[in-house]
Amino acid sequence: MIDTLQQLGAWALQRLERVGRSHLFILRVVVGLPELLARPGLVVQQIFAIGVLSLPIILVAGLFVGMVLALQLYNTMVNFGAEQSLGPVVALSLVRELGPVVTALLFAGRAGSALAAEIGLMKATEQLSSMEMMAVDPLRRIIAPRLAGGILAMPLLAAMFSAIGISGGFVVATGLLGVDSNAYWSQMQANVDLFDDVMNGVIKSVVFGMVVTWIAVFEGFDAIPTSEGVARATTRTVVNSSLAVLGLDFILTALMFGDNG
């Protein structure tokens, strides 16, 4: 009985310690962020690895999500004679929710796992400790540019996801379903607010970008330096950051849209 209790306590303390460690870790990285202004090349490299290489999957996913949204919603809305509202519904669901969230989930799978594996492997092959040996802080040289790259790339990816999704919805709505193209855009403009909807979506994606990259680099940095440890760190990155994104999304939505929804 006491043993089980002790195990439970040990498990909880271990978890708590990890959470604390991750916060201390991110604090030290954030303090090192301003130094990157002197070396923008490092960030550009990371934006390429994190952002540009995620582009194909984000664009294809966005296009199809937008097209499917238009197709599905049309079938229901046409029953109420509300097919004119297809534009705003597609735009709002993409800009507010699906853009940031689906992009963040894909981002966690595509870029987050790669980051964790890369850093975990650097640790396993003792590249990080040899850097420290040469008096180069790996947090500033390796982690900080990746965090900056993630925070910068994520909102741009989410914006592209939403934009191409809305265009895909437009193609399906006007080409396939026969919705008036002027109504699609004008109803959208009448119902989508620049600050309430578009800006809040951008804020969401910045937060998601930060959280996903943070989890990825921390899991990599904290991995047990064996091939198994790296594998587990990669899995944990995808699982934890997906859960974090979904949970945070609810909190952010409640904060942003709760009072007028």
């Binding site: 550009v44 390429f48 909102p155 403009q189």
Partner: protein, 156 residues
């Protein structure tokens, strides 16, 4: 060196596309035009009941959108709702005796302010008040009136 160059080109393209997407979301999808368009003038009208009218609802004449509702207040002296409307600058020839009513777009659509131009020679200016107004139709009241007139009719 050559590799960094192609890499930088790709990143430049990526950033440009990202901003283009943001720009499209702002210009094409959202209502940025109503924020940019600060030219124009404000007129107001007092209503007994505004129903479900909200700020940013359209203001229409003959079905054409000419402005938006910029503010809704409650006047404690007259117990009326004061609706302020922002009209685009190019529509500056609304007669003084224009009347305003709160209408609904279709059966389930949003409320909007419909303006009905009168025949005066003088035009509405910034800060003017529309005198002739008609309140929103509140469905419950209509049903109540209908039931009331029905029951009166059956008494006879």
């Amino acid at each position: 060196m050559r590799r960094t160059k192609t890499l930088e080109i790709w990143v430049g393209l990526f950033v440009a596309m990202g901003f283009a997407a943001l720009l499209m979301l702002a210009m094409r999808v959202s209502n940025i035009t109503s924020y940019i368009d600060n030219e124009g003038y404000e007129i107001s009208a007092a209503f007994e009941n505004i129903g479900g009218l909200t700020v940013r609802a359209p203001v229409r004449v003959a079905g054409v959108r000419i402005g938006r509702v910029s503010d809704i207040r409650f006047d404690e002296d007259t117990f009326q709702a004061i609706v302020t409307m922002h009209i685009e600058a190019r529509y500056d020839r609304l007669p003084l005796d224009t009347s305003a009513s709160i209408l609904t777009d279709g059966l389930l659509g949003e409320n909007y302010v419909g303006l009905e131009p009168g025949g005066e020679e003088e035009y509405l200016k910034d800060g003017d008040r529309i005198e002739i107004t008609q309140s929103a139709l509140v469905l419950e009241k209509l049903i109540g009136q209908f039931l009331f007139s029905r029951s009166q009719g059956s008494d006879k």
